[in-house]
Amino acid sequence: MSLLELKGVSMVYNGKVRALDNIDFKIDKGDWVAIMGPSGSGKTTLMNIIGCMDKATSGEITLDGISLMDVTDAELTQIRREKIGMVFQQFHLIPYLTAAENVMVAQYYHSLPDKDEAMKALDRVGLADRAEHLPSQLSGGEQQRVCIARALINYPVLILADEPTGNLDEANQNLVMKIFHELHDEGHTIITVTHSTDVGREAQRRVIIEHGHMRESED
């Protein structure tokens, strides 16, 4: 059984703008899939739907055996909290909390904050020695690694990364991709959304989304 399955998923805004059109998509546990496409192709819309931050207009979506079309907003929040780890292009760290505290925030809303666990997650991304630093005291690459540690802290079934290297220089991009490879090797299921061919190539499988339609990449 697939971890995530989309069948005939469409997203129409204001009854007119068709951002996603009859998408069929499947990802098994342990897969690393890159969703690629130019700006305005529907990547972010698809990511919001998979990430339980938005609901599709029609179709069927199943995540870890749960139908996302039949749940309430509160249940969607709970699924997001328990099943998904998110990595953002702009990091979105809380500026007045330290790196460790930023990781613990995700724990706080999931169960209970545990600093030891947070330290292990930071250690996992090579930032144990920067745990007490504020985001403003960290480089872009370090902030993104804190973001990855935060995404991992609650043992999600799916890691969803939106342009994870979009704001990073080449050195940091390589560092972050190395972490994603390690996570994949450990058996994590990852979806990266990117417009970068280089980042897309790192994934095990690539799908292209254009004008709301999806197809498998040929390369």
Partner: protein, 406 residues
């Protein structure tokens, strides 16, 4: 973690939260000043209104009956020696001043015997200074008030003009030390110390009436019912009425201590006092409400601006699994902490403001009423909740997808 986030937000956005605290402080300061004044203003306004004179007239019982039924003035009198008993009633501290009056004539001119500023020893052993001088503050005296126990007199302005009397002139052995203008019968009379008129009329120890100035509570239905006939009240109503400083209950208590007397409220003055007091209190209540509403509007704007500024952080919290309630509680905690600091500062500021109002308007301080603390606290919570409604609404509609990717 929750408090770490609250603390972090408060420190990071200290300027905005300082503005929230300041807005709450201003609203609460006005509210607590007004409420303190409101609770104390009854006594203060009453004290001020005593300048309008007596609100109770005590006359011999039979004379009241004759006057009421036949319009006749009788030759009944009260005993001067009983005057001190007025200051022994249950509401003794509410008796501001009183003055006896005995009418007579001197050389075909009306003369009124009274106390100008009389020092008396009460049955309790305490001394008490009273008379028309503290009671008739609006009288204009050309000259001065007569000294107690002397042959000095006041002459009414009209009488002085008619008889061509001046300061320093004598009527028999009585020396004119003041010309009085008060707008009443005093303008056409001579006013002398009580013993002089008692001697002239050969009525030693007798008085015709007593004017009493008392601090009273505004009349209500119970007071009006009692004014008609206290015997119609139930036992419980009677106890409430008797133990409340209604003008009718004070009058009733005076009747109890002055034998053969009838004490009547001067209804117009009593009602005016009640109306002025009610209106003053209503005005203060309105200022309180308006100041708190202004504070609510100010806080609401600041909080809404804060939500817009922090929408990404709040959206992130939602994205990583915070419920709407969790995010709302976080924001409310920040608002309430700032509000509580502002409220405490505002309360003490309000105490100072109340003293300034008291000194400026009434010439005396305003008592700090502890009841104001829970009232102001409840009002402040209400204001903060009211001010948070727009913020809560925008938090509920905040979509993480819109703020994190938009």
């Amino acid at each position: 973690m929750f408090w770490q986030m609250v603390k972090g937000a408060l420190i990071r956005q200290r300027n905005r939260f300082a503005l929230i605290a300041l807005t709450v402080a201003l609203g609460v300061s006005l509210a607590s000043a007004m409420l303190n004044c409101l609770f104390d203003v009854g006594d203060k306004v009453n004290q001020e209104l005593k300048a309008y004179g007596a609100n109770i007239i005590v006359t011999p019982k039979n004379s009241t009956v004759l006057k009421d039924i036949y319009g006749l003035d009788s030759r009944e009198y009260l005993n001067e020696e009983e005057l001190g008993k007025i200051r022994t009633i249950f509401w003794t501290n509410n008796i501001v001043a009183f003055a006896p009056s005995l009418e007579g004539s001197l050389d075909s001119m009306p003369i009124i015997g009274t106390w100008f500023n009389h020092k008396m020893t009460l049955p309790t052993g305490d001394s008490f200074e009273t008379g028309i001088e503290p009671m008739k503050s609006w009288w204009q005296i050309d000259g001065r008030y007569p000294v107690d126990g002397t042959n000095e007199i006041l002459v009414g302005k009209n009488l002085a003009a008619e008889k061509n009397l001046k300061l320093g002139d004598r009527i028999e052995n009585l020396e004119i030390v003041g010309i009085v203008e008060g707008g009443g019968i005093e303008d056409d009379s001579i006013l002398a110390n009580l013993p002089i008129v008692q001697s002239l009329e050969n009525l030693p120890g007798k008085i015709g009436s007593i004017e009493v100035s008392a601090i009273t509570t505004p009349e209500n239905d119970l007071a009006r019912k009692a004014a008609e006939n206290p015997n119609l009240l139930s036992q419980q109503e009677r106890e409430i009425w008797y133990c409340t400083a209604y003008v009718s209950s004070i009058a009733y208590q005076i009747e109890e201590v002055i034998s053969n007397s009838s004490a009547r409220p001067v209804r117009q003055i009593a009602e005016s006092e009640g109306k002025i007091l009610d209106k003053t209190q209503l005005l203060m209540l309105l200022i309180t409400i308006l100041s708190l509403l202004s504070a609510a509007l100010g806080v609401s704007n600041l909080v809404s601006a804060n939500i817009i500024e922090c929408s990404r952080e709040l959206g992130l919290l939602k994205a990583i699994g915070a419920t709407n309630l969790g995010v709302i509680l976080l924001v409310l905690a920040e608002i309430f902490i700032a509000g509580i600091f502002g409220g405490i500062a505002g309360y003490f500021l309000g105490l100072g403001l109340a003293q300034i109002i008291g000194q400026t308007v009434f010439g005396s301080g305003i008592a700090n009423n502890l009841v104001v603390i829970p009232i102001v606290s409840a009002l402040m919570i209400l204001v903060l909740l009211l001010a948070s409604i727009p913020a809560i609404r925008s938090l509920l509609s905040l979509e993480p997808a819109n703020v994190l990717h938009g």
